[in-house]
């Protein structure tokens, strides 16, 4: 079975632009979470979606938004990009909603802001 897939793998943008990152969860998984991982740090929670609804949000500005589609895939959108948005963006899927479910991570999208 395919794991969590994310696209694109790498992306270079300039300040002020917007970006859309995509995630396909493991087949049958209904929950998708997004994390930001700055170099040398642990992942920081951005959003969780379950059954197409936002179930949780971390301490990120409104420039960050996301959505989940009927097939449970998800998009993360970031507007008005800042240099500090440069990071690895990780998507994780789990079978059900809730933090106690094992999360399976994709290999991330490396976003660089110039």
């Amino acid at each position: 079975d395919a794991g969590v897939t994310q696209s694109p793998t790498h992306l270079i943008k300039t300040r002020g632009q917007h970006v859309t990152l995509r995630c396909s969860p493991i087949s049958g998984h209904k929950s998708v979470s997004w994390y930001q991982q700055v170099l040398g740090q642990g992942p920081q929670f951005i959003f969780q979606y379950y059954e197409k609804e936002e179930r949780g949000r971390g301490n990120f500005p409104d420039r960050f938004s996301a959505r989940q589609f009927p097939n449970y895939s998800s998009e993360l959108n970031v507007n008005a990009l800042l240099l500090g948005d440069s990071a690895l963006y990780l998507c994780a899927s789990s079978l059900y909603r809730g933090p106690n479910q094992p999360q399976h991570f994709g290999d991330g999208t490396r976003l660089s802001i110039l």
Binding site: G42, P43, Q48, G56, N100, P102, D107
Partner: protein
């Protein structure tokens, strides 16, 4: 209260030795404590996890020890191998919350 503090920041162990990574948390509502392994260019992979009603869990060469009263937990890697060289993250999550809080990570290097 939402922090998970992890130490050491980096660790060098001889092949065959024991690697020990420690984590401490503050929020007593946390009730699920996973450990993740991350190789360069890859996403974190779940290694082993424990709930606070258990003091120890072992899977192969990996053991989690959990001290609920001290609000600390640790990962022990027995018979460490060069292939274990990676960054390890402890994490915590709990009911009513939906996000997993990660530690800052430990870079492990196992010398052959």
């Amino acid at each position: 209260q939402q922090q998970v503090k992890q130490s050491p920041q980096s660790l060098i162990v001889q092949k065959g030795g024991i690697s020990i990574i420690n984590c401490a948390y503050e929020n007593t509502a946390f009730d699920y404590f996973p450990w993740y392994q991350q190789f360069p260019g890859k996403g974190p992979a779940l290694l082993i996890a424990i709930r606070p009603d258990v003091s120890e869990k072992k899977e192969g060469r990996f053991t989690i020890s959990f001290n609920k009263s001290a609000k600390q937990f640790s990962l022990h890697i027995m018979d460490s191998q060069p292939g274990d060289s990676a960054t390890y993250f402890c994490a915590a999550s709990g009911p009513g919350g939906f996000k997993t809080i990660f530690g800052a990570g430990t870079r492990l290097f196992v010398k052959a």
